[in-house]
């Protein structure tokens, strides 16, 4: 590979707070934040109860919150990254973009004028990238990936190929998804939601909690004399698993293939991996497939691994970016976070995630993402 790629900045808005630092502080003590990141007053009640409660970090005008959330995360990442040089590209991963605008509009329309003809959104999912490109004055490629729950992991991988290919000098990667009625009730229809706090990799796991948020990473080609202390973004892999539209093969074979593919593309071996940020949704089959895939790759004593979804919920297309930001934030703060919600090992998986935070080891870190549509993405990062 050519010049190393450096992750020079990041930012996140999640259920754990409006900044990465707030979320990292919560993860250090194992705090759950299974509430929306915003007050999602547009979510439709069932039997008089709204699907989410609790105090949300991001308040304010309902219609302004989606853009404010993105703006906050971008500002945090750019402030950490420092001044731009050269051409900047924008790479967004999202399932719904600002569709939540339509969701809010539809909700109010239904509430106030049920007979009115419905409408379906002012713009498509690409609007988030357009807004970010304007915000930061990007002059390079502007690309939006909509690949279910792998969307922003794919955006991170794509940013690396763009930087290596020379289409831009700096990549701003954004993962964003906000709770919308369509996703909330879609996942409920699939019976994939646990009414209790989710328990990734636990033998009694019974589904996921939906979350929302925005994660942003700034990636650049390393410049001479650049301040150290950052992370190098290595290689990636992307595979389609055609066994099922909603999940990977439960024998773990595709998970193994995508992790090994990312390591091979990164030119590192499984023995060099010191932590794995698992996708870990808390659904029975996802965790079975991923746990078995990790075991097939690393053996019965794998590197420390954990899911963050027990802390922030499943943020769908944003998950790859938000979880990467929080994982890197924890590593920089000196620890690998625990897999919140895990209690009892599943003998069908055979390996267990971290049950308590541990000191951060230096080496290669693997990031997994899986999603509907057979999408499987993994990428690797190394301490600089």
């Amino acid at each position: 590979m050519s010049a190393p790629l450096v992750i020079t900045g990041w930012g996140a808005v999640s259920a754990l707070g409006l900044t990465t630092a707030e979320a990292v502080a919560a993860l250090r003590v194992g705090q759950r934040g299974l509430v929306p990141a915003t007050r999602s007053a547009h979510l439709m009640p069932v039997n008089g109860e709204r699907p989410f409660g609790g105090e949300a970090p991001l308040d304010g005008d309902l219609a302004e919150r989606p853009r404010r959330m993105v703006s906050l995360a971008v500002e945090e990442a750019l402030a950490a990254s420092g001044p731009a040089s050269g051409v900047t590209g924008v790479f967004v991963g999202t399932t719904g973009g600002f569709f939540v605008d339509a969701d809010i509009g539809l909700y109010h329309e239904r509430k106030h004028n049920p007979a009115a003809a419905p409408w379906f959104g002012r713009r498509g999912v690409g609007e988030v990238a357009a807004v970010v490109a304007r915000q930061i004055g990007a002059t390079g490629p502007v690309v939006t990936f909509s690949m279910a729950c792998t969307s922003s992991a794919a955006a991170i991988a794509a940013a690396a190929t763009h930087l290596r290919g020379g289409t831009c000098d700096r990549a701003v990667v954004v993962g964003f998804d906000l709770l919308a009625n369509m996703t909330v009730y879609g996942f409920r229809s699939l019976l994939l939601c646990d009414p209790n706090p989710c328990r990734p990799f636990d033998v009694a796991r019974a589904g996921l909690q939906l979350g929302e948020g925005c994660g942003v990473l700034v990636v650049e080609r390393e410049r001479p004399g650049q301040t150290s202390g950052a992370f190098h973004l290595l290689g990636s892999a992307n595979r389609i698993d055609v066994s099922n539209l909603t999940g990977s093969a439960t024998d773990g074979s595709t998970v193994e293939a995508v992790i090994r593919g990312a390591l091979a593309h990164s030119r590192v071996s499984p023995e060099q991996v010191v932590s794995v940020k698992a996708h870990g949704t808390g659904t029975v089959d996802n965790d079975l497939a991923e746990g078995r895939g990790i075991a097939r790759t690393f053996g019965k004593s794998p590197p420390p691994f954990a899911s963050l979804k027990g802390a922030i919920g499943h943020t769908l297309g944003a998950a790859g970016a938000i979880e990467a930001v929080l994982w890197l934030g924890c590593l920089r703060a000196g620890f690998v976070p625990a897999s919140i919600g895990f209690g009892v090992a599943d003998p069908d998986i055979g390996i267990t995630p971290l049950t308590a935070a541990i000191p951060a080891p230096r080496g290669v870190h693997v990031f997994n993402s899986f999603g509907f549509g057979g999408s499987c993405v993994a990428f690797a990062v190394r301490d600089a």
Binding site: V46, F145, G165, N181
Partner: protein
């Protein structure tokens, strides 16, 4: 700018349009139930493209699917959203929800063509096919795939044309909306050193018209995208094909295939598709038919 010093070959191409139902039935029988026109357009176009490829090209190759769409699977997503928000009790069909995700079409393409490589789905109002093509080229160069099956797909519900136009920021252009899919199969120079059709360049970024046109090779025919205006802005020194008339985010995919299969006659040799959005984001891709 991404100049392809190591050229990329276009090994095959195909498209699907109004004939999709009959072709889908002929290709797959009744093997795929509960899928709509969007997925069928993807399957028929993509599988026809692979079928047209030299058989040796596919042997042992890691083939990735790179798909661009302007508005996604609206025929599935719109009724789903309305069903949830306009029902007495919010609920939906589980399979309808799962099938509405942006990358579901690429999943069905991979399943029907027995592919296991990358699934990359670009979804944005404009330049989505161009962006998918750029992702494919970069993935080929980076060694992530051996071959890239690249397509652009959009569907249209005529009763919702006004909403489509609003989402494309193209109000006032009613009556031109279209649907269809176009596909090309890309291969790198190492595996395919002598392609009959070569992708010379693909570029996306902010650019004014002079800069966008400056990169068009001398003598190349310009294929202007649907938002481009005919006339002096495109210059007088190069041959210019008519402005694209179909108002469709991924019209470039269809048109490039139509040029390659001879449906649209624009002369021989090199041609450059150019498109520029209202916000100034622009794309240019240049293709040469060797020996044409």
């Amino acid at each position: 700018m991404l100049e392809l010093h190591t050229p990329i070959g276009i090994l095959a191409w195909a498209r699907a349009g109004d004939d999709v139902e009959a072709r889908h039935l002929a290709m797959f029988g009744k093997g795929f139930r509960r899928i709509g026109a969007y997925v069928k357009l993807a399957q028929v176009g993509a599988c026809s493209c692979l079928a047209a490829a030299p058989p040796t090209a596919l042997q042992g190759a890691n083939v990735g699917v790179f798909m661009g769409t302007g508005l996604g699977n609206t025929e599935a997503a719109v009724p789903l959203g309305e069903g949830i928000l306009h029902a007495e009790r919010p609920w939906c069909s589980p399979m309808a929800f799962a099938g509405s995700v942006g990358n579901a079409a690429a999943f069905y393409v991979a399943r029907s063509c027995d592919l296991a490589g990358a699934n990359v789905t670009v979804s944005q109002e404009e330049l989505s096919f161009e962006a998918a093509l750029l992702e494919a080229v970069l993935a080929l160069r980076d060694g992530l795939v051996d071959l890239a099956l690249v397509g652009g797909i959009d569907v249209l519900d005529p009763s919702r044309e006004a909403e489509h136009l609003a989402r494309l920021d193209a109000v006032g252009l009613a009556g031109k909306s279209a649907a269809g899919s176009g596909w090309v199969l890309l291969g790198g120079a190492l595996r395919h050193p002598d392609p009959a059709v070569r992708l010379d360049e693909v570029w996306i970024g902010q650019a004014g018209m002079p800069d966008l046109l400056a990169g068009v090779p001398a003598g190349a025919t310009i294929l202007p995208g649907w938002r481009m205006a005919a006339g002096p802005a495109l210059g007088a020194e190069r041959p210019v094909a008519p402005v694209e008339t179909r108002l469709m985010s991924t019209a470039a995919a269809l048109r490039i295939v139509e040029v390659l299969d001879g449906t649209e006659q624009i002369g021989t040799g090199t041609f450059s598709h150019v498109h520029r959005t209202a916000s100034g984001l622009a794309a240019r891709l240049t293709i040469t038919r060797i020996g044409a």
